[in-house]
């Protein structure tokens, strides 16, 4: 059974150009949900973004749950429940249905983060059991 835990971060919605020019703390992981929306996981709490974000929406985000998987776990537990092709480049964000649940995958070269919105956590873990 996958143990999904809250993955805290900061979520920002701003125009695409502002996000392109965004400066984030060293080591932060930036998941680009859409051209005008990002989710940023910081290596340490407290280091957040501020530049170029006039009238942006910036919010602390604790609404995502997830877990890190090894590549073996990813292949064995998750990929069989995906009806679309994973991107080949790394790192990469992939978003879509996993076992019928809206989910996101952050793919790094040696591991992957499986994420979903908290209300889906129960269904996702049940279905990937």
């Amino acid at each position: 059974m996958l143990a999904l835990e809250t993955i805290p971060g900061v979520r920002a919605a701003a125009d695409a150009a502002a996000i392109d020019g965004m400066v984030v703390a060293e080591g932060a992981v930036v998941l680009r949900f859409a051209p005008d929306e990002v989710f940023i996981m910081f290596p340490k709490p407290g280091r957040e973004l501020n530049e170029g974000f006039a009238q942006a929406i910036i919010a602390r985000e604790t609404g995502f749950v997830g877990c890190w998987l090894t590549l073996e776990e990813l292949a064995a537990r998750v990929v069989a429940h995906i009806d679309w092709a994973l991107p080949v480049e790394r790192p990469a964000l992939a978003q879509g249905l996993v076992a019928g649940v809206p989910a996101k995958l952050w793919l790094e070269s040696g591991r992957a983060l499986l994420l979903c919105a908290a209300p889906y956590a129960h269904e996702l873990t049940e279905r990937l059991r």
Binding site: A34, D83, Q95, G96, P102
Partner: protein, 80 residues
């Protein structure tokens, strides 16, 4: 399997998307403003052929895309 190519997420099965319909258009020959409003509110072109529609990638980036599609064909094959 019918798929749509989301500009943010790539090729995805149709179940990930919500159909948003085509942008309504009212034929020029309808001139009466009230009739035009009824047509805009209720009527559909229901084209058998190339059409332009809105789809929302509900299970992915949650953004809209505009799709050119031939409704005479099976699946979601885009048309140029």
């Amino acid at each position: 399997m019918p798929e749509l190519d989301c500009p943010n997420c790539g090729l995805r099965p149709i179940e990930e998307f919500t159909f948003g319909g085509e942008r309504p258009s009212v034929p020029d020959r309808i001139t009466d403003p009230l009739e035009r409003d009824v047509d805009y509110a209720w009527m559909h072109d229901n084209v058998n052929g190339a059409t332009s529609e809105r789809w929302f990638h509900a299970a992915g980036c949650r953004r809209w895309l505009t799709v050119r599609r031939n409704t005479s064909l099976t699946g979601m094959t885009p048309v140029e």
